[in-house]
Amino acid sequence: MEQAIIDAGKYIGAGMACLGMGGAGVGLGSLFGNYLAGAIRNPAAADGQFGRLIFGFAVTEALGIFSLLIALLLIFAV
């Protein structure tokens, strides 16, 4: 009975942890949207900033992956 409560808590917590990835999605959409808006205005300068775009993508994505990590840890490692 106790184990069932623990398991239920784990899975509910994992589901809640996945909500954090919404924030990462908003951040990434904002990042790429601004890049595209700038690139349409000034296509010649777009390629020069591509490296920064990819770096910004990786650090923003990292926060979403952190929340996925908590969810995976709850399901498989607790």
Binding site: I54, A58, A62, L72
Partner: protein
């Protein structure tokens, strides 16, 4: 979906288990063994060394394919370091280049079937990240003395806010090794778990006979697409690890905001 005793459940964690290949005895109460993780670290170093040695063995003016690749990887890391840390930062080039190539090849090697992903363990990525941060702190104090602490005092902050801002800056500096290591670890872990789960969908759908195998085409294509994504993530995470290292080294060289 957790590790139950049933054999028809998904177990994506088994791929991360450390297996001892042969024992190396006990030193001071700590057991040493050559594990599958150590084996793949050796393979990674061998691949990087072979790539670079073969690439530069015949130093032609007009490079062949391997030499061109070796030169591209050198230029890529050199430009990244020079842009972030300036010409003074180039003294760290061997370190940053080794770091980048090790993380890149370790990530990519993990994508082959049955190969172990070295960077999918927090201990490995934490060791790399803490090496970087200790180098930054050590070199920062060696080169700037106590002036290294100017890093935590941004320009133009009013006096009454200074303690609070300094405390926040110190906390955010201390969070660097954690975020550096967890970013790489979590990306590799999540990627490989997802690959394993989608691959298991193919098998689970196949249990339904002929119609199941036709339906299993969908998770099959998803697995192929995910593998392509994981190759991209492997490159990206190596690049991000290296460029963050370059930025932190720039902080050690020029500690003023």
């Amino acid at each position: 979906m957790a590790e139950t005793a049933g054999s028809d459940t998904v177990d994506p964690i088994h791929q991360f288990t450390i297996e001892e290949l042969f024992d190396l005895g006990t030193v001071g109460g700590v057991e040493f063994a050559f594990t599958n993780s150590a084996l793949f670290m050796v393979v990674t170093v061998a691949v990087v060394a072979a790539f670079l040695i073969l690439g530069t063995s015949r130093a032609a003016l007009v490079p062949g394919r391997v030499q061109a690749l070796a030169e591209i990887s050198y230029e890529f890391v050199a430009n990244m370091l020079r842009e972030s840390a300036g010409t003074e930062g180039m003294r760290f080039f061997p370190f940053v280049f080794s770091l980048f190539m090790f993380v890149l090849v370790a990530n990519v090697l993990g994508l082959f079937p049955y190969f172990f992903t070295v960077t999918s363990h927090i201990i490995v990525t934490a060791a790399l990240a803490f090496t970087v941060i200790l180098l930054v702190i050590g070199y920062g104090f060696y080169r700037n003395g106590i002036g290294f602490l100017k890093l935590f005092v941004p320009h133009g902050v009013p006096g009454y806010l200074l303690p609070l801002v300094a405390a926040i800056e110190v906390l955010s500096f201390l969070s660097r090794p954690i975020s550096l290591s967890v970013r790489l670890f979590a990306n590799m872990l999540a990627g490989h778990i997802t690959l394993k789960v989608f691959a298991s969908f193919i098998i689970m759908l196949g249990a339904f006979g002929a119609a199941g195998w036709i339906g299993a085409i969908i998770p099959f294509f998803m697995t192929v697409a995910l593998t392509a994504l994981e190759v991209l993530v492997a490159f990206l995470q190596a690049y991000v690890f290296a460029i963050l290292t370059c930025m932190y080294l720039n902080d050690a060289l020029h500690p003023s905001h």
